[in-house]
Symmetry: C2
Subunit: 251 residues, 2 copies
């Protein structure tokens, strides 16, 4: 039984764990992560967020947080943000690493230890969902998380472009090799639609459907290029909170 | 004298080495790399390309190459492609790593050794330019390359979005700490312009100028979102060869 081998974590057994993964960087994985988490919180849920994208640091900015992590009783306390009736609880390497020298020290085994800390040494408390922003691709951090969270489900984010697909398939294979269920694929930046309704497929087309077919999972949705998503990310106010939002809803 | 400490490589001392770097993935670094290299080759130059983005594998696809690397007299022979009067010579991890198991084995020290191989064990021959597609961000591979190529110059690619900038500044600092000259910043995907000339700044605006100002280098150019760039990448035919091309020309 795989779950008996997973080291204990502070994550409640009833928490639904969703890993947001991608083959390459820049497909919108962090954007999808924060909009999914904020969207769930806006419905009243308590949603944890782990920014495991050690070099990325996007998640704190995209949620309007630049706090430092506190510790209490030897546990790290997540940074909280209320969203409607719900709550976000966030940990990110971005909270710990604000000096360049220390950034460069976080390598190899230290990265794995850091991510392990986020699972074992954070006072998560009650959580309905835990959404994890994975580093792009496959590597030690991703493999470590997959092994430590055998109940997690994975969403893979890609773009319509074919260059994004090859490594995305490997990520799905890595997930499956660790007994994770791949919920589906989200195709992000699927097209740009002008206010008059003209549609331009600037990054190509069909990449999401092709990846979903190759992996044998549903295409959960196609999110268009929307200036609101990018500006929401830069301003720390996820687009999903201001409009119908780009994300169709939790899987 | 730093250059006396750099281990010997097969790169001729007269070759102009250009590192194309970025803070995060997906800003178009590989696209800029292949269009810069192909653009130079189309003017008659002999241009080497190293795809050091170990997990990226974009460069071979974007140049229409899916060969395997040959070896001759104990040296790796680059894959060649004629471009007009010039020539591209390409090595990429994508040529070596086509099985998932072996992809996962290329970690840590092995990545550094692989990149070192590309400098020391490749029969490069004569080359006017060597363009290197760096992994995004700062890390062992990037630091190793900077130390081994002290004469290299660096171009940093970013997007208009602010979330892309923080790590891009660290990349510039890493370059400077290794005595590399930062030539400038290219802002990619600066806006989408419809055939009627309507301009939409879908990823925000000003990120390139801000990064250039913060690093104290010129903004070399702003490349708009052009479907031709993405489809050229997917089809293996860099956009610069078919149009005026998006890139203003070599720095
Ligand atoms: N649907 C979208 N429309 C417009 N911009 C987007 C969209 N999705 C992501 N972006 C922007 O694209 C950039 C890359 O997204 P990000 O989520 O950081 O990618 P990743 O986590 O895969 O590296 C960011 O500037 C982000 O705001
Ligand atoms: N100026 C551009 N216009 C349209 N698409 C672009 C442009 N630059 C890059 N792309 C596309 O965006 C995606 C990411 O680009 P890529 O060069 O792979 O980024 P990186 O090397 O930074 O990860 C690719 O599908 C590429 O074809």
């Amino acid at each position: 039984n795989v779950s008996q081998n997973a080291p204990d974590t502070e994550i409640p057994s009833t928490t639904k764990v969703i890993m947001v993964a991608s083959g390459k960087g820049g497909v919108g994985k962090s954007s999808i992560t924060v909009n999914l988490a904020a969207g769930l919180a806006s419905r009243g849920f308590t949603v944890g967020v782990i920014d495991a994208d050690i070099w990325g640091f996007s998640v704190p900015r995209m949620l309007g947080l630049d706090d430092h992590l506190e510790s209490k009783d030897k546990k790290i306390v997540p940074v909280e943000r209320e969203v409607g009736d719900g709550l976000l609880k966030v940990v990110s390497m971005g909270f710990l690493v604000d000096k360049e020298e220390s950034a460069l020290m976080w390598r190899g085994l230290m990265l794995n230890r850091a991510v392990q800390h986020f699972l074992q040494d954070v006072a998560w408390g009650e959580m309905d969902y835990l959404v994890i922003d994975m580093p792009p691709g496959t590597g030690d951090v991703q493999m470590g998380l997959a092994k430590m969270l055998p109940r997690a489900e994975m969403i893979i984010v890609t773009t319509p472009a074919k260059v994004a697909q090859k490594v995305a398939v490997r990520v799905a294979n890595m997930g499956r090799n660790n007994y994770l269920r791949i919920v589906g694929v989200i195709e992000n930046m699927s097209a740009f639609v002008t206010p008059d309704g003209e549609r331009y497929e600037v990054f190509g087309s069909g990449g999401g459907a092709e990846l979903a077919a190759e992996v044998g999972v549903p295409l959960l949705g196609r999110v268009p290029i929307e200036a609101a998503v990018a500006s929401g990310g830069d301003d720390g106010e996820p687009a999903i909170l201001n409009a119908g939002g780009p994300d169709g809803g939790p899987a």
